[in-house]
């Protein structure tokens, strides 16, 4: 199997901020286990999606892979090199091979930087070519992301552009270095629905042209369906199910995945949803429940779920699930 990106038991624990008296009262530090042992691989040229609700650790995982958040533990191999152990200048230089597209195009561009400078900045940072060549490359890139005529856009400031256009700038900026891996964190969640598909289409077009590999991070399973090859579902810092897109959307087996999929609204008046709703609210990430983290809320939980922690196990080729009682043939989706 081609393991272009390999993430091995990645963890991130954030220390909990406490009041002064609390800190005096107890010696032990509590941690938020934002990401707690995540392992997966992405093949070259594929789109892998991390999906989950807020607090599932999906964004933190994406940022750890790019070393924008320091991992507490674990490895990230990109083409065989361990990114997680890189330091200082080595890491900084290596960043040209992995880039990020951020969620909020209104916040991810410096308001005082012209569009052209923003797109060519990665080249400048890595000392690639001279300034007139960089200008040319940036203009080409603006053209490629559909901001035409590029010369007009070159001198604009972000405040003069719409959300969709800004996101195209962010994409141009991420791709101009021809990176190997691009992590896209909710790239369309702030974009109008009627324009979302155009951004996703652009991302796929650029993937083919520049031979990119994507890690797509989203809370929106409907959007994930549009772009992914493989989808991993995260819950409380762990991957609970991972499968190809077709498998996951038609044969979800983890109770949480089923709950999540059944909650997504469907724009079809004839659709009859069998909603499966988990009990209660998400458990404390500081003191996670024993056993399976989903067990207090799981409609299918049994005694063992409260005692033992299920590991991610392959049910069949390319479909793994972390559950003692995977629900097959749940009747959720009509074949």
């Amino acid at each position: 199997m081609n393991e272009f990106v390999k993430v091995v038991s990645l963890k991130k624990y954030f220390p909990v901020q406490k009041g002064a008296l609390e800190r005096l009262a107890s010696r032990t530090r509590d941690y938020v286990r934002a990401v707690d042992g995540v392992t997966f691989t992405i093949e070259k040229g594929r789109v892998m999606t991390l999906a989950g609700e807020s607090g599932s650790g999906k964004t933190t995982t994406g940022k750890m892979i790019l070393r924008l958040v320091e991992p507490t533990e674990g490895h990230v191999f990109l083409g065989g090199t361990d990114v997680a152990s890189m330091k200082g200048e080595t890491l900084r230089k290596y960043r040209r091979r992995m880039q990020m597209i951020f969620q909020d195009p209104y916040a991810s561009l410096d308001p005082r930087q012209k569009i052209g400078d923003a797109v060519s900045e990665p080249l400048r940072v890595h000392g690639i070519s001279n300034s007139s060549e960089r200008r040319q490359l940036a203009i080409q890139m603006l053209q490629k992301v559909g901001l035409t005529p590029p010369d007009d856009f070159f001198n604009l400031y972000p405040r003069n552009m719409s959300g969709g256009q800004r996101q195209r700038v962010a994409i141009a900026r991420a791709i101009i270095l021809h990176p190997d891996l691009v992590v896209a964190d909710e790239p369309v969640s702030m974009i109008d629905v009627s324009l979302r598909a155009s951004i996703l289409e652009l991302m796929l077009k650029l993937k083919a042209e520049f031979d990119l590999t994507y890690l797509f991070v989203t809370h929106d399973l409907a959007v994930a369906k549009e772009i992914s090859d493989t989808v991993a579902i995260m819950y409380m810092g762990e991957i609970v199910e991972i499968a190809s897109k077709e498998e996951l959307y038609t044969k979800p087996t983890h109770p949480y995945t089923i709950c999540l999929l059944s909650a997504v609204p469907v724009p079809d008046p004839d659709n009859v949803s069998h909603r499966i709703v988990p009990k209660g609210e998400i458990s404390s990430v500081v003191h996670p429940p024993p056993g399976c983290r989903f067990n207090p809320r799981c409609p299918f939980a049994q005694a063992v779920c409260n005692e033992k922690h299920p590991d991610l196990q392959e049910m069949r080729e390319g479909h793994s699930v972390a559950c003692f009682f995977p629900q097959e043939n749940n009747g959720l989706i009509d074949p």
Partner: protein
Amino acid sequence: MRMVLTLPTILILLTLVFLITHVMPGDPVRSIAGMYAGEKNILELRHALGLVDDKGNPIPLYIQFVNYVVKVFQGDLGNSLIWGKQPVMLEVRHYLPATIELTIWGFLVSIAIGLSVGVLSAYKRGTVIDHSLRIYGIVAYALFIPWIGMLCQMVFSVKLHLLPVAGRIDPGVYIDRITGMYVLDSILTGNWVGFYSAIRHLILPSLILGIMLSGVFSRLSRNSMLEVLSQDFITAIRARGLPERVVLKHAFKNAFIPILTMMGLEFAMLLTGAMLTETTFSWPGMGSFLIDRIAYRDYNSLQGSVVIFAIMISVVSLIVDVVYAFIDPRIRF
């Protein structure tokens, strides 16, 4: 929580005071004693300043510092270098109540004016009322206290003879000392002649001090109110049909929190103002004491009064933190 910071704050300020008086260029002893002082006087002075030990050997700087800090924490601010060489702490006990009395009244005036101006200004945002009130805030803060004080003395005291020119009490009126704050003491002792005299002396200084600081409060409370008024929950309250006075009540409670958290700073401004007010109105408080002793290069008194100011600031910050924790349910100790 800030509470834990009270101790370091005092320590840092002590260090600062120590640095100012011990490490700054120049030989303070020479400048205090004058060029022609005899060696014996100089040695005495060095001893009084804690620079040399009993035998006249120089004490290393860091030990001087430790001695100094230990003494401060024991409540010993050293002896004054002039006039009977009294312990500074004793003098502080004499002057401090006057400052506290002045600042309390000034504070009440500034809160009353400042908050109403700020709240009204924010509520009437963009109107002529708002613009005029904002100009009031700017002008009030820029009113250099000695100047406005003197003008008031000239008009109300010299010309109109309405109020006393300066001081805390009329000559010949005595108030038995309990707290040292005349208004309070005269009430406690039922001394209404003293009360009347004390109040009359308080009016100008406390009004002027309060008006100056109301400039700060009006600006703070306007910004804070504007911030709160733009929040969703205010619209939500209006959407529930509650009247504007309830909207204002909610807004004000929330807007008060940032004002409260900055109270330490506001108190510092109050003390700055009090210092100028005291010297303008010959008010015998810490400010007047400090300025008097500077003229005589009485470094121990200078150091001592600065330490007292630092402790006052820290105590106020501590009180503010406790009050804050009570008001805001989101804060836990």
